[in-house]
């Protein structure tokens, strides 16, 4: 018998396709799981609309549900309900351990250049706040590039969304 708890457990094993240290549940992109007999509906919001990993995420979630012997339905919800604030504390810890600085909390007005230029961003390698913005954009839509002036290590900063 498939239960919602089992589905959540299975989804917690699905790695993010681009940052495999963190699972889709850690990332907070799974919004809801509904079980109706053999059918399982998963509501999912992609991080960024232009994220090329969306399709892979959907396929992997469907696969994880099928492995439980249920029929998946993955509903994609495109609205503002996912924010980087939804990344779990566990997810943030895993990101930082892997050299990705976790996102700052969301503010109502969104980020500004002045704020991003400020030295309030912590280097995930040495912990220094002496870091500077190198590039607003990085290897994927969700990341910026910063440079640590203390340990001279460039690092990837999760954008706040």
């Amino acid at each position: 018998m498939v239960t919602a708890a089992k589905v959540w457990e299975a989804l917690a094993e699905v790695p993010d396709p681009e940052i495999p240290v963190i699972s889709l549940v850690d990332l907070g992109v799974v919004r809801e799981v509904e079980v109706d007999g053999e059918r399982v509906r998963v509501e999912f919001t992609p991080t960024f609309l232009g994220c090329p990993a969306q399709e892979v995420m959907r396929l992997q979630m469907a696969e994880a549900v099928r492995a439980l012997g249920a029929e998946p339905e993955i509903d994609v919800v495109l609205d503002d309900s996912w924010s980087t604030d939804r990344i779990t504390p566990e997810g943030r810890r895993k990101l930082e351990e892997s050299g990705f600085a976790p996102p700052h909390p969301r503010t109502a007005s969104g980020p500004t250049l002045v704020q991003l230029d400020a030295q309030a961003f912590r280097c995930p390698y040495c912990g220094s706040n002496e870091t500077r913005l190198e590039n607003l954009f990085g290897p994927t839509p969700c990341r910026s590039i910063r440079y640590c002036q203390s340990c001279r290590q460039p690092f990837e900063q999760f954008k706040t969304i």
Binding site: D79, G138, P141, I145
Partner: protein
């Protein structure tokens, strides 16, 4: 789907918006590999990818009402059926000053359009606009940073002058005054949607090549 079907005009506006984002994303992607320096190559490619992601989401929303899917709306229509503003069609790759001028004017116009759509009574559109706005904040910061950097540059100023009537054409007439205010310029006659620039047919052929070769192709 909304309980009540969205008005035809709202769907047409979503489609026109999607066409803007797709075509601009396509034009911007022409800088990939040849942007002025490596960081900018990464940034501008990411922005192009963001615009195309927005186009996809908007096409999906339109497809909920019109039928078909995002790819069919993006790539299976005739060139004459696209409703993008001539502004986004202009081939500017190779001229960085003009590209930054368009980027800055477009992001400014887009912020006005997205803010209006966040108030839409079509709930899925309002929700999508709110998500887009969060992402566009990064595009806007990038555009503002460059506009400031090139602020005193003659080529940049000339490009803004030349593009201004085109930029106004992105917005409905009632919202153009706000763009003029934000850009610090006078409102003039706009280059309106409807007609296409000469280069659009070639661009359309390039964009639709795969789907014309293999109907229904997905990738």
């Amino acid at each position: 789907m909304s309980a009540q079907a969205p008005a035809e005009a709202a769907v047409a506006a979503v489609l026109a918006f999607a066409d803007d984002e797709l075509v601009l994303g396509w034009r911007d992607s022409q800088w990939t590999g040849v942007a002025p320096f490596l960081e900018e190559d990464v940034a501008f490619s990411s922005i192009a990818q963001g615009e195309i992601g927005h186009a996809r989401a908007l096409y999906e929303l339109a497809a909920d009402v019109l039928g078909g899917d995002a790819d069919a709306l993006a790539f299976d229509r005739e060139a004459s059926e696209y409703r993008c503003a001539p502004f986004v069609e202009l081939p500017l790759a190779g001229d960085w000053a003009a590209t930054v001028a368009r980027h800055w004017l477009y992001e400014t116009a887009d912020s006005i359009r997205v803010a209006a759509l966040m108030e839409s009574d079509w709930p899925e559109l309002a929700g999508l606009a709110a998500k887009m706005d969060r992402e566009e904040a990064y595009h806007r910061m990038h555009a503002e940073m460059w506009a400031e950097k090139l602020g005193g540059d003659e080529r940049f100023a000339a490009a803004v002058d030349g593009l201004w009537p085109y930029a106004l054409g992105v917005l409905e007439p009632g919202r153009r005054g706000r763009l003029a205010e934000l850009a610090g310029r006078e409102e003039v006659d706009a280059v309106e949607r409807g007609a296409h620039e000469d280069g659009f047919v070639a661009l359309h052929e390039e964009m639709t090549m795969v789907r014309r070769s293999i109907p229904g192709a997905a990738w």
